[in-house]
């Protein structure tokens, strides 16, 4: 497959505290969706910020279309900024409260000088149209928009540069269900119309299932399982993926709960980061970090990935 974005063994830290411990991601040229699944604090957003060069990388490499992202400077960086865009979790905070919709959406056009000033208004109208907003919103300010409208304005702004890769950080989590659906439909449509590749960060398995070919399950900054989304959700091999899977409420289906609440920062055991919560953990799990190995057509970091595990009664 033709690689667009490759993240290789990336370690990320806040000060001395490492939060992402060697993550690999692979996104081919679009249309393609890669999902990053994990709970809050798993390092999802920090990875997204690192891809966009908002967070320093301790070690590892990030490559975009053959170029070393971490070394980009000057006009190469400017090109990268055009080709990779991000949609934030919180559409409210991502829009400057002092800027009208017109100013916000036309800002990327002005920065990169790709549309002459006289045509920007028209272009912004087209972009709003594309995300299902009407042009009369142009003179509004963020506080005069609903959450769904703001999220779509953010999307329109990201699309203004016609990026090849979009990083969507929890694009729907702040929205109510009906508005979520509209945003998801929009992403589906753009993906086909624009041949868009994207990294979708979410804790919502249904969203990832719908929009992403492949997925990576992250726990406390470590990849637990990665492979095709279908495989992961239909026949999860890692106990954590299974727990996430069973945590999705489905009417009429019995489910096992996540056994223990995360103990949070600073208590990571010597072995597998998930061993503290894992109902299947053995002594080896607490002593040795399991390698990410090919099992059953996907990659799993679990000492017991090969076994058929059933929950003790």
């Amino acid at each position: 497959m033709n690689a667009l974005l490759t993240v290789n063994d990336v370690h990320l830290a806040y000060g001395e505290h490492e939060v992402v411990h060697g993550v690999d991601l692979h996104v081919p040229v679009g249309p393609y969706g890669l999902g990053i699944i994990g709970e809050s604090g798993s390092g999802k957003t920090t990875i997204a910020r690192a891809i966009l060069k908002l967070h320093p990388v301790v070690s590892g490499s990030i490559t975009f279309a053959g170029a070393d992202v971490l070394a980009l400077k000057g006009s190469d960086l400017s090109t990268y900024r055009r080709e990779v865009q991000m949609v934030f979790q919180d559409g409210d905070g991502a829009l400057d409260p002092r800027m009208s919709v017109l100013s916000s959406v036309s800002e990327p056009l002005a920065i990169h000088g790709i549309v002459p000033k006289s045509q920007r208004r028209e272009r912004v109208g087209d972009l709003l149209d594309e995300v299902g907003l009407t042009a009369d919103l142009m003179s509004r300010f963020p506080h005069q928009l609903s959450g769904g409208q703001r999220q779509r304005v953010v999307l329109a702004r990201a699309l203004a540069l016609e990026p090849r890769l979009l990083v969507l950080d929890e694009p729907t989590s702040a929205l109510d269900v009906t508005v979520q659906e509209r945003v998801l439909q929009l992403v589906e449509r753009l993906r086909e119309e624009r041949k868009l590749a994207y990294v979708l960060i979410s804790h919502n398995l249904a969203v990832v299932d719908r929009l992403c070919e492949s997925s990576v399950v992250l726990y406390e900054g470590t990849v637990m399982e990665s492979g095709s989304t279908r495989d992961l959700l239909d026949s999860p091999r890692h106990p954590y993926t299974r727990a996430l899977r069973s945590a999705v409420p489905e009417i009429g289906v019995h489910r096992s709960a996540l056994t223990r609440i995360s103990t949070g920062v600073g208590t990571s055991p010597a072995g597998c980061t998930y061993s503290e919560r894992c109902p299947f953990a053995l002594d080896i799990c607490r002593k040795e970090v399991p390698a990410l190995l090919e099992v059953d057509g996907r990659q799993v970091a679990c000492h017991r990935a090969g076994e058929a595990m059933t929950l003790p009664a």
Binding site: R49, L52, L54, L77, S78, R81, R82, V84, Q85, M86, F88, D90, D92, G93, A94, L95, D96, P97, R98, M99, E107, P108, I111, H112, E122, G125, D126, D129, E130, V131, G132, L133, T134, A135, D136, L137, S139, R140, F141, P142, H143, Q144, L145, S146, G148, Q149, V154, R157, L161, R182, Q185, L186
Partner: protein, 306 residues
């Protein structure tokens, strides 16, 4: 709008109907918001009257020449009357004329102090908050040094070194006034840098200059503007204090603080010489305070403007 309307458009329209908000600018929240704060309206009207009086002073005062160095020995210390509403001072000048002209001097001092200290304070504060690191440390320590001195004493010391005049008094006040704006702007800039829209600007490829000018400056300045309106009254009082001590405007400049100082020995015999300029200081300070307090409550996010 051009192009075919996509299938999402009807939904978008229903979205819009949720919030039929009228167009409102961010800079001025509109009369609707202002009217809910009666003090702000009162302050604005009063301030406007004072400014207009100052501007039109040569045309609305009965003896405009009395604002300068003239003496009318035969009319010294006349009590208030139809000819001299506020009476006359020790050299026979019309106090009403001088009080109205005084608005020019006081407002001029306020404008100079606010402009100089806002420009200096915002530049230093925004640079410190936006760039952070060692620049932040250096700039803020310098600011702290200024703040360590009692402001009035520092102004007095500086005014004493310079030759006494209204302009030098204004500069002496500005010299001690800017650190407050620097601190305020620094805090704003540092918090704006952590907002989503700052990240968004970087991702869009905005240069540092663009981020500062287009995003940080506009968002950081509202609290500074509010603080400036609150400070106007304090500046008038400080300027009056310097003049009163003989370190500010000099006779014959019709400065209110100076008029109070000159009239003080006559307080028991010619009360009008000291009372009317004193009232002018009071009314102006109160008017500006109303505006400042009012603006603060209009812009206070807890009032739910956003």
């Amino acid at each position: 709008m051009s192009g075919p309307v996509p299938d999402l458009a009807p939904l978008a329209t229903s979205d819009a109907s949720i919030m039929p908000g009228r167009r409102r600018s961010w800079l001025w929240p509109g009369w609707g918001a202002a009217k809910r704060v009666p003090l702000l309206v009162a302050g604005l009207v009063l301030s406007a009257l004072i400014i207009i009086a100052g501007v039109l002073a040569p045309w609305i005062t009965p003896y405009p020449e009395d604002a300068g160095a003239v003496v009318h020995p035969t009319q010294a210390l006349l009590a208030p009357s139809a000819a001299h509403w506020f009476g006359t001072d020790i050299v026979g000048r019309d106090v009403f004329t001088r009080v109205v002209f005084g608005a020019r001097v006081s407002l001029g001092i306020v404008v100079i102090v606010l402009v100089v200290s806002a420009v200096v304070g915002l530049s230093i504060g925004l640079a410190a908050g936006f760039f952070g690191g060692w620049l932040d440390a250096v700039l803020m320590r310098v600011t702290d040094i200024f703040l360590a001195f009692p402001a009035l004493l520092l102004s007095i010391a500086l005014a004493a070194v310079l030759s006494p005049s209204a302009l030098h008094a204004a500069l002496a006040i500005a010299f001690t006034w800017w650190p407050w704006y620097a601190r305020l702007a620094r805090g704003q800039a540092a918090s704006i840098r952590r907002q989503g829209y700052s990240d968004a600007a970087r991702i869009l490829g905005a240069s540092r200059t663009r981020q500062l000018v287009r995003h940080v400056l506009p968002n950081a300045s509202t609290p500074v503007f509010v603080q400036m309106s609150l400070d106007a009254a304090g500046i008038i009082l400080t300027a009056a204090t310097l003049s009163y001590l003989g370190l500010g405007a000099q006779d014959p400049t019709p400065e209110w603080g100076l008029m109070v100082a000159k009239g003080q020995p006559l307080a028991t015999t010619a009360w009008w010489v000291i009372t009317f300029p004193g009232l002018a200081i009071l009314v102006t300070a109160v008017a500006f305070n109303f505006v400042g307090d009012g603006l603060q409550s209009v812009f206070d996010p807890k009032r739910g403007r956003r």
